[in-house]
């Protein structure tokens, strides 16, 4: 500011006229430019808003993509997106144009002044009213003026801009009904005594978002240790009470009290641990199954991690920075798992507890299957590889003892595996990486050179030719979408015309006259052939011997660049690129028995139990990543897992709100019985409040509370209610 004023003064001293010109032009710049820039601020704010709305819309579309495809509304969404993008572009274009207009005017005015100096000043100089020296001084002084002036204007602009942004952002956080932060203070060992009291609903009134009442003036007492079923038709109050006890919905009138204290006034540290809730909707995050389960127990950082001095310094820095910013500095790398809350004393106890809980909800078999189908890196699991390899022999013996020795055809080097395809027999290993994957192997020069020995290529050509003939004969007349095409593994329905044309040009002996391309197309068919499955009679003993010989050749002289592209089947080695089950089987399941796959899996499971490997395999299963929102599990598995999570902690009250809705009645019944048994084990007696999906399930509980139209109509043990001819009895008869 000061340099600008001094320079202006200097110009005035030199010449009043020139001073007036400068002052006028500077004044114009100072007043008009900021005003023009204000328009830019408005546009900028609009741009922010529209961009944020766009991103919200994009994430909505991604979530609802299934419905969009099902309802054919993709074009409506396209129109919406295009309009939004157009609007954003218009705003940005306006900003662009206006900004450059302002810049233009600013620059123009800045350049106009010296022009006027030269013209007016020159005129005055020529007329003798101005000294050349004064003119030069003025021009020199002016050179330095625009700099600070521009900075001044820019600073003012920035200030306004930031002020606008700040107000916008801060307004987002001025919401009504924020929770009292004291309810969520970090507590390591909360006082559980607050919940060792009966729960009293006192004049409770619960309403949903639209204001419709779900519970009206309810008075109910739930004693610790009682098992209660809340029964009623949907929307009549049973689910609402369960949600209210779990503090998912807040009472609009009256209260629920633990003893005398309103549960809403209790800190979350107490209610979160003391009341376990599981509903029909499960929330899972992208992480392993174990992480999702253990999440239930992460209340506070109980044990800080051990750090080396370097990391400790970094940690201290973060801590200090967090304090200055007013953020919490809870140590994320510490051990947050509250083993005591689960009733165990350490990680091993926790693993056992997981197994027990998952068995209760009948998810243990699913987890074993997940484990068997996952690929593991043997270096991460010490001793697992030799154990699994040992299982191979044990599995054969086990199946032999059950009279099922022909169920698996094992991979033996030097022998043709009749249940595997020709391609698999040639390769005799799993392809690692793209070089030898699927179709690429046929194109690999080394592979081709191996196969050409002994005239194997010719034999494969004849085989492929016959396969093509048979496939055309069987499938040529079928429409392209016929379900039988699923059984045709050699080619797709689109390939049929191609092969028809090919067969017309070639015959069985045209191996020498066929082009490279044609030869590859025919030979490709032979790679998918399995004799017991297709039964074309194309695989003679001689051919099998040739294939095995080619296989030996392939592996014995494998060039160094292909060493990493294939992992050969080795009966004594664990294959890191195949999953656990394939590693145990180490062969192919014979198709002769229609339920072969199930029998084998059952045998494998029994074997794991007898060899004490269940724990380790189970732990591998727990490493299974659930995907975003747990989508990699089925809906039934998610519900069971959600219930399992609700059973993990040792709480005073358990509230289950139709947690198994998607399961069939028999399984639900069994799991309810298992849960009650689990929660009453070791002399425990927590309060259990269950909203069953079917009123018949209420018979498992000591007390039944019946809701109708938002009010309590019947309350008592289930046989007493059945004796009365009331609402409960009628519900059961429906």
């Amino acid at each position: 500011m000061l340099p600008a004023v001094l320079l202006l003064l200097l110009i005035f001293l030199q010449s009043v006229w020139l001073g007036i010109i400068t002052a006028t032009l500077v004044a114009i710049q100072f007043t008009i430019i900021p005003r023009m820039r204000r328009r830019l601020l408005v546009l900028g704010r609009e741009r922010q808003l529209t961009a944020r709305q766009l991103s919200g819309r994009v994430s909505e579309i991604v979530e609802g993509i299934g419905s969009i495809h099902a309802y054919d509304t993709s074009n409506v969404e396209r129109a919406d997106m295009a309009t939004r993008l157009g609007a954003i572009f218009k705003i940005r274009f306006d900003i662009y144009q206006w900004k450059f207009l302002v810049k233009f005017i600013n620059n123009f005015l800045s350049q106009l002044t010296p022009f006027l100096f030269y013209s007016v000043g020159g005129y005055l100089a020529l007329n003798g009213r101005l000294d050349i020296g004064q003119l030069v001084a003025v021009i020199g002084a002016y050179k330095d003026l625009p700099g600070p002036l521009k900075d001044l204007i820019d600073w003012d602009q920035n200030r306004q801009d930031v002020q606008v942004k700040y107000t916008q952002v801060v307004n987002q956080f001025a919401v009504d009904g924020l929770l009292d932060p004291r309810l969520q203070t970090l507590t390591e060992a909360p006082d559980a005594a607050a919940l060792h009291k009966p729960l009293n609903a006192v004049n409770l009134r619960v309403a949903d978002d639209s204001g419709a009442a779900q519970i009206e003036r309810l008075n109910l007492r739930i004693n610790p240790g009682e098992t209660i079923a809340l029964v009623g038709e949907a929307g009549h109050g049973a689910e609402a009470l369960a949600e209210a006890i779990a503090r998912l919905v807040w009472a609009k009138g009256g209260k629920i009290a633990a003893g005398d204290v309103d549960i809403l006034a209790l800190p979350e540290a107490v209610t979160g641990r003391g009341i376990s809730y599981a509903g029909a909707d499960a929330w899972f995050f992208s992480g392993s199954l174990r992480e999702n389960l253990v999440y239930r127990l992460k209340h506070a950082p109980l044990r800080p991690p051990t750090r080396d001095p370097e990391s400790q310094k970094r940690r201290d820095w973060y801590s200090a920075e967090a304090h200055r910013a007013g953020n919490p500095d809870f140590d994320l790398e510490g051990d947050w798992i509250d083993y005591a809350a689960a009733g165990v004393d350490g990680p091993e106890g926790l693993s056992k507890w997981f197994q027990t809980v998952l068995q209760t909800v009948q998810l243990d078999r699913d987890i074993m299957d997940l484990a068997l189908r996952s690929t593991v890196d043997p270096s991460l699991y010490h001793g697992l590889a030799p154990d699994i390899v040992g299982l191979r022999r044990a599995l054969r013996d086990e199946l032999a003892s059950r009279g099922l020795s022909d169920l698996i055809v094992p991979f033996q080097p030097g022998t043709y595996n009749i249940e595997a395809t020709v391609g698999e027999n040639l390769l005799f290993g799993t392809a690692v990486g793209p070089v030898l994957q699927n179709a690429n192997i046929g194109k690999n020069a080394y592979f081709q050179s191996v196969v050409q020995r002994d005239g194997l290529t010719q034999d494969l050509f004849s085989m492929g030719y016959e396969i093509a003939q048979l496939a055309i004969e069987l499938f040529a007349d079928l429409p392209p979408d016929h379900p039988f095409f699923q059984q045709l593994t050699f080619m797709t329905s689109d390939d049929i015309p191609t092969y028809q044309a090919l067969l017309q040009r070639l015959d069985a002996n045209s191996f020498k006259t066929a082009t490279e391309e044609q030869r590859n197309q025919i030979i490709r068919l032979s790679f998918a052939y399995v004799e017991p499955r297709h039964r074309f009679g194309l695989l003679t003993d001689a051919l099998r011997a040739k294939i095995v010989a080619a296989r030996q050749q392939f592996h014995d002289h494998l060039p160094p660049e292909l060493q990493d592209a294939i992992e050969q089947y080795d009966p004594e080695r664990y294959s890191a690129s195949a999953n656990l089950l394939d590693n145990v089987l180490f062969g192919r399941i014979s198709l002769k028995h229609s339920d072969g796959a199930d029998r084998v899996q059952a045998a494998v499971r029994d074997l794991l139990v007898s060899r004490n490997l269940t724990d380790r395999v189970f732990s591998i299963g727990l490493d299974f990543n659930l995907g975003t929102q747990g989508k990699r599990l089925t809906a039934v598995q998610r519900q069971k897992l959600n219930l399992a999570r609700g059973l993990l902690a040792q709480s005073e009250y358990y509230v289950f709100n139709k947690p198994l809705q998607g399961l069939d009645a028999r399984m639900q019944d069994q799991i309810i019985r298992n849960c009650l048994e689990l929660l009453h084990a070791d002399g425990r007696r927590p309060g259990i409040i269950w909203v069953p999906a079917n009123p018949r399930q209420a018979e498992h509980f000591d007390r039944v509370v019946v809701f109708k139209d938002g009010g309590l109509v019947e309350d008592g043990p289930s046989d007493a209610l059945l004796a009365r001819d009331g609402v409960f009895k009628r519900m059961l008869q429906a």
Partner: protein, 152 residues
Amino acid sequence: MLLKDEVQMLRQVPLFAGVDPAKLKLLAFTSQRVSFSDGEVLFHQGDPGDAAYVILSGSADILTGSEKGLIKVAEVTRNAIVGEIAILCDGTRTATVRAQNPVEALRIGKEQFLKLMSDFPEITIGVMRVLAERLSATTAELTIARSKLSLN
């Protein structure tokens, strides 16, 4: 036994008497060859019906459950089809079928069977004829059994 041998067997099955051999070949191709050892059960009464079996070699007993245990009601040998009732009626198996000796069979899946019948009506007519013949045989036996009962 190769695919073409299976086709020859299928032609002997009364159910498939009028069907074009090319279609029989397609049926055989999309079906699964399975084997059962002596005493092994093909399916149990009450199981959901998911496939029919054409016996290619060997023989099997058809048993139904009663208070006295399983009673043998019939026997199937080569070129007979068994298990088609459960697929047609969308219900559960009406009887248990147990192999008397080692049995090789062609397992025709439910989807394939129904698709075959809808594509080739002559098969459906053949199936209806066989079922009608069975019904009349069962009715005749029932009449005999009832008259014996009323005489006692």
